[in-house]
Symmetry: none
Subunit: 193 residues, 4 copies
DNA sequence: TATGAATGAGAATTCATTCAT
DNA sequence: CATGAATGAATTCTCATTCAT
């Protein structure tokens, strides 16, 4: 393994080891000392791999996506219906699977950080992430339109859907409200025959 | 003026005086010392009127709503169409009026605080606020249904619309995206003839 | 009632009203605000009657003695044996009577203050108090010697007995240890026949 | 020197460096800033070695005992008579040696802290300390009994003697009073022939 | 490369006391 | 007389970051 790869892997390992801590105490209430402790390394070593505290949660977000995305891709490929695909795409907001719940909580911490310190880098990161998932949704919906399952206007709702998810999410709406919303929107966008 | 009223008014005055500071630097980056300075009072005096820093932004939110709500009510009463009413209701997210822009930025700070410290009190405050505006939207939409302007299913989208607004908001989507969304949704919910 | 007497009485009343507070929280953990609150007066008014916080606990000590001393005197007069008299004299350290327990706890707070801030005035106050009770003990013991109940050397132990009581007291020794000590010393000082 | 040992030693060094400060101003009147200053370290560094202010005076007490105990042991071993041994045992309360005077004053501060904040940990610490010296006294007295120098009842006075010392101490009784007491008690406990 | 000891600026909060009403 | 609003100095403690080893 090259030196650089080794460094990248350690960076990932450190970030992942902080996961529980972020969830339990929340980003703002965690100190570098605590992070170093759970990572099993020295305080100074943190700064060999990260430029600052925020850098860590971004890496963590990336790691979680690295885990999440292939699974998502697979789920999407195995899905038959549009409905099913959408359900998988939004599993971050809905799933009760422990792994996903963890990812969801980290995402909340991430959102809090982006609100507290909206630096250019953060905004870009956030936009890229949003774009990635939006594109996936776009593909699903376009497929639905091509299959005559969805109205053409469905495409206009793509940018809003993730916004709605985030909105439900930050106001802590229960899962069933979210599902209801997806169902209602699906009905509305379904091609009537 | 009674003593108690005087105290309430001063509390409001202090909260309002911090408005610019919250917008410029953001809640987390402000110290009590700075707040006391812009309020023109001693550090200790802050604690005569507020139990802690968060208390201040809640009071500020309340003050802004106290100013905002009567204007909103008036605007709604003077509006003829449903579209217009909805536009007014969402003006917090859209208006370029300096006062509203200020309110919008404070709302963002407020959201950040709710994400950082989701205490029971905060969640309740947030829920009450959400409920208030949701009820207004409900009235507007029910009126539209009664007037045969909207589909009955429109009522199902009420809980999601504020979520969508918040979602657009926290991901810093530009105004026109938001307007586009409202228009698209309006079209979809419009009763077809 | 003369103006001055009125003032003195109010001073006493304020001091007494703080009694529970001192016991519950301890002198160092109490603020003037709290004192004013339980006294049912304004914060500023405290300074009309006391020069500072310590002044209050001294007044309180005095008040408690004013209540305690006549009762003690009466008990001593009604006692037949020396043993009984000594028991009454040390009731501050021993009694389970609620009133006395209160006095005991206040005495502990008082001791803490004298250790923290051994000003000349405090030391004098403490010495006077000690002298008063020492003299009572002296009388009791001299009576015992005259009655041929006690050895003459008993008189030498007078200064030490209160010290021993205080020592047991500050190291929180249980009541039975203290009683045992008194019994042992009594035996030792008893005139052998 | 191992890292841990280094840390322990620095902890001791810091505690010892504060000694004069505690004596001059008293525990309650000292700030962490002052402590850091006399220790020649940064304010934050204090918290690398101590959990709080009280922790420092406990460490200081321990350090002084570490110095005191071997000397005491030696003195006791070199002593011939019981009287002499007792005198050494109580030297903390009596000696005019500068080192011991310092230890005495720190002990007073320690007592003040125990009265102000009678936490479980403090009480335990205090009890252990008391037990240690009580056991030494017990050995001395038992030896005296075995040698037929002391009455058997002498053993009953062991628990009280340190209490008496502390009592004399906190009411600032002069040395000769304390010596007189020891002499009187010795006489009383001496086996009569 | 890894470390953790050292730090001092800065945080929130408290509080005895004053003084205008 | 009584008050309580106002205060700012002072307090304890935190923490991201640096740097010598």
């Amino acid at each position: 393994m090259s030196k650089q790869l080794k460094k990248i892997n350690k960076r990932k390992a450190i970030a992942k080891s902080t996961c529980d801590l972020f969830i339990t105490k929340g980003f703002v209430n965690i100190s570098i000392s605590e992070i170093a402790k759970v990572a099993g390394i020295g305080k100074g070593t943190i700064y060999e791999y990260f430029t600052n505290k925020e850098d860590i949660i971004f890496e963590l977000m990336s790691c979680l996506q690295e885990d999440y995305d292939p699974k998502l891709k697979e789920s999407l490929q195995n899905s038959q219906s549009i409905n099913e695909k959408i359900k998988y795409l939004f599993s971050l907001y809905l799933s009760d699977h422990p792994t996903v719940k963890t990812q969801r909580q980290i995402y909340k911490e991430f959102l809090a950080v982006t609100l507290n310190n909206p630096s250019a880098a953060i905004i870009e990161y956030q936009n890229n992430m949003m774009e990635k998932y939006t594109n996936i949704l776009l593909e699903i919906i376009q497929e639905g339109i091509e299959n005559n399952e969805l109205k053409e206007s469905a495409v206009h709702f793509i940018p809003s859907i993730f916004a709605t998810m985030d909105g439900f999410f930050i106001s802590r709406k229960p899962k069933d409200i979210i599902i209801e919303y997806i169902d209602n929107l699906s009905n509305l966008l379904k091609k009537e025959e």
